[in-house]
Symmetry: C2
Subunit: 295 residues, 2 copies
Amino acid sequence: MQRLESALAVAAEAVNRTLDKLVPPVTGAERRVVEAMRYALMGGGKRIRPFLVLNSARLFDVPEEGARRTAAAIEMVHSYSLVHDDLPAMDNADLRRGRPSVHRQFDEATAILAGDGLLTQAFEVLAAPETHADPLVRAELALALARAAGAAGMVGGQMIDLEAQHATLDLEAITRLQRMKTGAIIGFSCEAGAILASAPAAARLALQLYAEDLGLAFQIADDLLDVEGSEAETGKPVGADAAAGKATFVSILGAERARAQAELLVAQAAAHLDLFEQRAELLRQVARFVIDRRT
Amino acid sequence: MQRLESALAVAAEAVNRTLDKLVPPVTGAERRVVEAMRYALMGGGKRIRPFLVLNSARLFDVPEEGARRTAAAIEMVHSYSLVHDDLPAMDNADLRRGRPSVHRQFDEATAILAGDGLLTQAFEVLAAPETHADPLVRAELALALARAAGAAGMVGGQMIDLEAQHATLDLEAITRLQRMKTGAIIGFSCEAGAILASAPAAARLALQLYAEDLGLAFQIADDLLDVEGSEAETGKPVGADAAAGKATFVSILGAERARAQAELLVAQAAAHLDLFEQRAELLRQVARFVIDRRT
C-alpha cells in the first residue's frame, strides 16, 4: 500500500495548491467570508474525492490542469456540505477534523455564507474555459455535479438523514439515503474523468458501478469506525450515531455482517474496473484503503 | 403603464409555470426539502428578474423555452438568497411577503437545505441541453451566474451587509455593497438575453450598463420604501434599517437627494438602451416602475 499512500499524498498536495490558487485571500470588505471559505477548504482531510477524480482522469490521459480544477470543484462542494452540516440547526458540531468548525471559528452567518460561496464557486470553476477547451464537457461537468449535489442527491440525502432521527429506517431506506448523501458525489468524482475525456459509454458505466460500490463500502466503514474507532484516531466522539439513536448499516446488520458486506463491495468495485486492466490499480487499491482506514 | 403591468403579470405567470414544472413535488423520504423549495419559490413576488431575462431575450428573438428556463434559474437563486438571509443567524425574519419565512414554516435545518437545493438546481437548469442547443451558451450562462452569485457578487455583498452593522459605511462602500448584493444578479438577468443570443459585444455591454444603473435605482427605491412605505404595502416593518442603525443611500444622502439620484439613474438606464430603439420600450418602462413602486 506504500504506492497508494504516496499517491494519496501527492493528490492531496496537488488539490491543496489548486484550491489555494482558486480561492485567494481578498482585501475587500467581504474578506471575512473568503477567509471562512479558505478555512473550510484548508482543514486537511484525506482528499479521497480529488484522488478519485485525478485517477479516473488518468485512465484516459486527460490533461492534469482540467482534472485538478475538477477535483478542486468537488472538494469545494464536499467542504460546503460539511460547513452546513456542522451548523447548530443541523448536526451542531463544534469540531471538524480536530479544529473548531467554521461557525465556531467565525460565526453562524459567516458559515452559512461561506458554504453558499463554496457551492457557487464549484460551478464557476467547472464552467470556466480553463477546465476544458470543449464547452460541451464543461456543461456536462456542471450538469452532473448539480444532479449529484442537489435535492435528488446530496441535499436530499442530508434531509433524509435529519428526518431519520424521528423514524426507524430499514436496510433499503438506509442504502438509498447513503447513495444520495455520500454516494452521488463519490459517483461524480469517479465519472468526472470519463466526462473530461468524452470517454465511451462502457467506460463511463464501469466507473459509475465502481463508484456505487465504493460509496456504500465507504459508508459502512464510517459506521464501523463510529462504533469501533477511537476518538484520538477519528477526531469524533465514539458511538455518536448510537447515542443519537440513528439507524446505521452496523445497527441493522451487526458489525460482523457489515464488515463482510463492505469486503464484498470492495471486491465488486474492483471487478468493475477490469476493462481498464492495470491502469486502474490505484483505484482498486483505494477501495481497499477506504475500508481498512482507522480515521 | 398598463402595458407594462400586464407584461409583468404575463412574465410572472410564465416563470411560475416553469418553476412548478422544474421543481415538482416528490414522494421519497426527502420530500420535506422539496416542499420547502416549492414553498420558497411560490411565495409570489414581482418576478422582476425573470421579467428582465424574458425581455432582454426578446430583444434578440431568443426561443422562449430557453429564456423561461433561464428566468426560472435566476429566480431559484434569488429565492435561495431570501431563504438564507431570513435565517435567525442572518436577518432573523419571521415573515416574507406576508407569509412565514421558510425556517418558520418548516424549520431551520430544512430552510438551510432548501436554499442549498435551490442554488444547486439553478445550475442544473442552466447546464441542461433543454436550455440551449449550444453547449457554449450553457457553459457561459452557468459561469456568469456563478460569478454574479458568489463571493465576488451576491454572497460577498451579503457578508458586507452583515458586517456593516458594526461599521459606518460611506457612499462608496454602500454603492459597492449594493452592486454586489443585488446588482450582480440583476446584471446577469439583463445580460442573460445577450448570452442566449450570442449577441455582439456592444449589445451585451449596453445591457450591462442598463442593469448597473437599474440595480442601484432599485436599491435606492428600497431604501426610500423603508422610511416612507407603509407596513401594509411593503409587508415589512417601517424603518427597520434605521432601527438597526444601518447606513443606507437615504441615511447618507437624505430622502430628497436619494430620490433625485434614483431619477437620474433611471434616465441613464433608459439611455443605455438606445441602440435597441423601440424594441427596448418595456425595459425602459420597468426602470421607471422600479422607482415608482409602493411595495
